[in-house]
């Protein structure tokens, strides 16, 4: 076994090291504003939603499918939560299961169309996502809906453990769950073969159709969880802002696949990638850059991540 060699470890933890270097750089430039616990706890808390969306994304990605509808599922469930709770007065403990069920339903629709009509998931989920956005705008009349029960905010952003909002711990718990499922269950192996060797899996008895459907349902539910937490973060639902999470989530998913378990979409890599990306953006805005850095950073990171992973796999092939 040579997997303990320095090169391999560098590859696994490369992104973590780069992340720490970025922190050190911005810390040196703006020690008083950037390098504070309150800045970091707000980063950890507010970006929990992005972590959960990214975790949702890597499940179908592992099975070889794209879920472009996940950010719209988030926005839709976020709006559904606000309307049911603030407008119609449904108690939050009923609203949350309804929201999660709606997310699962979106997954079923995505999976059913992709599998039954054999359409590429990229197109199906693009369409379903846009359709959902239309519903969100319609039912909210394109307005921000506020006045959600205080309890939801309490359990998302107000209560803190070690100074960090509880939403961060939800994201970490979900990361642990996704990590466990991908690495330690038979289903994780079935997902992997469905993505990397579908025909091989099928001939060995993997029910690839059911596995893909389950992956879509899982990403739908994750999108819904992210939606509920999104509403809890501000106590309101905005019909458009969740939309901007799609690209960052893809960037984080692909960037995450270059570390911790290089070459695989993986939960902890995704967590590291999200926090690396938002640290960079936070640092740049502390330095005074305006919002365009978001697009520069996320877009650039996605392209660089896929380039790096191609380079890595190309190097492995040449080494044969």
């Amino acid at each position: 076994m040579r997997s303990s060699s320095l090169g391999v470890q560098l590859e696994r933890f490369g992104l973590v090291i780069v992340w720490l270097a970025v922190i050190a750089l911005f810390g040196a430039l703006r020690p008083d504003t950037f390098l504070t616990w309150s800045n970091f706890s707000s980063i950890f808390g507010s970006e929990a939603v992005l972590v959960i969306v990214t975790l949702g994304l890597i499940i179908p990605l592992t099975a070889g499918d794209f879920d472009l509808s996940i950010a719209q599922t988030l926005t839709f469930v976020s709006m559904l939560t606000a309307i049911l709770n603030a407008r119609l007065g449904v108690p939050i403990e009923y609203v949350i299961p309804i929201g999660l069920l709606a997310g699962a339903l979106v997954g079923v629709v995505n999976g059913a169309i992709t599998l039954f009509f054999r359409v590429h998931s990229l197109i199906v989920t693009l369409g379903v996502g846009t359709f959902l956005h239309g519903i969100t705008l319609w039912m909210s009349d394109s307005q921000t809906i506020s006045g959600v029960e205080r309890a939801l905010m309490n359990y998302v952003i107000i209560y803190r453990i070690f100074g960090i909002p509880v939403s961060f711990y939800y994201a970490i718990a979900l990361a642990a769950l996704v990590w466990y499922v991908l690495s330690y269950t038979a289903f994780g192996q079935q997902l992997l073969f469905t993505g990397r060797g579908r025909e091989i899996g099928r001939l060995t008895g993997v029910a690839v159709g059911r596995v893909r459907l389950a992956a879509f349902v899982a990403s739908g539910v994750m999108g819904a969880i992210a939606g509920v937490i999104y509403t809890g973060t501000t106590g309101s639902a905005n019909p458009t802002s969740g939309t901007t999470l799609l690209l960052p989530a893809f960037a984080a998913a692909f960037l995450g696949a270059t570390c911790i378990k290089p070459g695989r979409f993986n939960a902890w890599g995704s967590v590291v990638a999200v926090y690396f990306l938002v640290t960079g953006i936070n640092g740049l805005s502390v330095l005074g850059f305006r919002t365009f850095v978001h697009d520069l950073f996320y877009g650039g990171a996605l392209v660089v991540a896929v380039m790096v992973s191609q380079l890595v796999s190309g190097r492995k092939e040449r080494a044969l």
């Binding site: 269950t185 038979a186 992997l192 060797g197 008895g205 044969l320």
Partner: protein
């Protein structure tokens, strides 16, 4: 102008080696104007090397080429063969099914069709004239995917003939090379193809017809050249030659192989039977195999022997058929890999890269996939146990590997196949289905694979092995079924399982083997 008296094509002394191995040795081939010339030989006889030299794909070591008496410098630049009067139709026909007949006719015709503005009206009119001239009853606007297989083959031939006549710098009708255009066509369609070839011959076109099928070559060609082990055995006047001497020229005398199994087939009652199997090229097929028996399936390309394992493993749905195994009966029209595995059937397909191993994943993941499906430890994968079981498998199947955690892509083909064998044999299957189990594998690894198969066989598994390698069957098969056009043509047992006998059965006429 064709200079009369000169052959259309004259190849002299063509020699080509690959890494010290002679694929072609001083081969000659002469084709006259307006002649249909057969090119015959087994796999590896040098046929395809010769064709690839003609199409400019290979640079020969030695040899000369003349077309209509004019010397042509070798290698021919790729894509320029039509201007010297040669055109090719390969087995896959080179048609784009989604495109129309017209689009396919003009595709790649850069010399004649302006690339920046296509006059569709004029092109369609031209295509109609061309199709009518060759009596091909299709409309230029039809998508190729709606055409029958024989119409597609005819379209590809018409296109090739058109290219040569339009581009040949010297104005002769040119030469078409048809590389195995018939193996997937029913007999009546082959006849239709032949009438097109005869009409082309009448207009002065020469044709080189490459085929495995001796009867077809006897019927359509004027002369035929036979290659064996890279050498030309002879050029025959087909009308004046009998079938047997051509078969002998193709097959030659073969060395006997070391036989690893006894001639006596296991005497156990047939515990596994397939009845009325249909699908792919097969119709109404019955196969029996006993525990401890290795049954070989073989035949020429397009005979359907390689469909059997896909249909009885649930990899592809069958049109009809029933599998009985150890007292259980399964309807093969509604069979799946899951059901097959549960019934004790293991299937190792020929396409290792796509159907065998996920190359990016690790050895342990690949080898232990059946466990991750069957449900043992569903909620708690025991990585240590999986690693240990894989390490054991690596040792037992002599896989040269560094660790169970390395990617399968890092193994050589032979080691990948041994791992795959281990993955399936570990499940102790009752029936093992193999499709070309030693494709692209070196001699040493082959022998190890045979040893493992013989062990499985000795412990009571039945093995069905589909292969085009007759030597392999002589070494390991108790019994061999030879296929032709989707049916069993001959059955060889015990002492008859010899390479030479299998070759005779493959190339021979069906009535010579009445012991089916």
């Amino acid at each position: 102008m064709t200079q009369s008296g000169h052959p259309r094509l004259a190849i002299k002394g063509l020699t080509k080696s690959f890494g010290g191995v002679r694929a072609l040795s001083r081969a000659d081939l002469t084709v006259m104007p307006g002649e249909i010339h057969g090119l015959l030989g087994k796999n590896g006889s040098g046929k395809s090397t010769l064709i690839k030299v003609l199409s400019g794909f290979h640079k020969p070591d030695e040899g000369t080429l003349e077309v209509d008496g004019r010397p042509v410098a070798l290698p021919i630049p790729l894509g320029r063969s039509e201007t010297i009067g040669l055109s090719f139709v390969h087995q896959n026909l080179g048609l784009l099914p989604e495109a129309t007949v017209l689009e396919n006719l003009i595709a790649g015709d850069h010399e004649r069709v302006r690339s920046w503005l296509i006059n569709w009206g004029a092109e369609a009119a031209r295509a109609r004239r061309l199709l009518a001239e060759h009596r091909l009853d299709v409309d230029p606007s039809w998508p190729v995917e709606n055409l029958s297989p024989v119409k597609r083959a005819q379209l590809a031939i018409v296109r090739a003939a058109d290219r040569v006549s339009a581009h040949n710098a010297h104005g002769s009708p040119g030469l078409l090379v048809l590389d195995e255009p018939t193996p997937f066509l029913p007999i009546e369609d082959v006849r239709e193809l032949f009438s097109l070839m005869r009409r082309l011959r009448q207009s002065g076109v020469s044709i080189v017809f490459v085929s495995h099928d001796i009867d077809e070559v006897m019927e359509i060609t004027d002369r035929a050249t036979v290659l064996r082990d890279g050498e030309v055995i002879g050029a025959f006047d087909t009308a004046a030659t009998d079938r047997a001497s051509i078969v002998e020229a193709i097959v030659g005398r073969s060395l006997t192989q070391e036989r690893l199994v006894g001639d006596a087939a296991p005497q156990a009652a047939a515990a596994i039977s397939v009845r009325r199997l249909g699908g792919g090229l097969l119709t109404d097929l019955d196969i029996d195999v006993a525990p401890g028996e290795i049954l070989g399936l073989t035949g020429l390309i397009g005979s359907g022997y390689d469909d059997v394992s896909y249909l009885i493993s649930g990899a592809r749905p069958a049109m009809s058929g029933e599998l009985a195994i150890g007292g259980d009966r399964f309807d093969l029209t509604d069979f799946s890999p899951v059901a097959a595995i549960a019934a004790g059937v293991a299937f190792i397909p020929a396409d290792r890269q796509r159907q065998g191993l996920a190359l990016e994943l690790t050895l342990a993941e690949n080898a232990m996939l059946p466990d991750a499906v069957s449900g043992r430890g569903r909620w708690r994968l025991d990585h240590k146990g999986r690693g240990a079981a894989t390490a054991q498998l690596i040792e037992r199947y002599v896989v040269k590997a560094r660790s169970p955690d390395q990617a399968a892509s890092e193994l050589s083909g032979g080691n990948q196949q041994k791992l795959l064998l281990g993955k399936w044999l570990r499940l102790a299957p009752r029936l093992i289905l193999l499709d070309e189990p030693t494709q692209g594998i070196d001699v040493g690894a082959r022998r190890e694979i045979y040893d493992r198969l013989l062990e499985a066989c000795a412990s009571g598994a039945a093995i069905i092995c589909a292969t085009s390698e007759f030597e392999q069957l002589e070494m390991i098969a108790h019994r061999v079924l030879v296929f032709e056009r989707g049916r069993i043509k001959a059955e060889l047992r015990g002492g008859d399982v010899r390479k030479s006998m299998i070759e005779q059965a493959c190339y021979g006429e069906a009535r010579d083997h009445a012991f089916v």
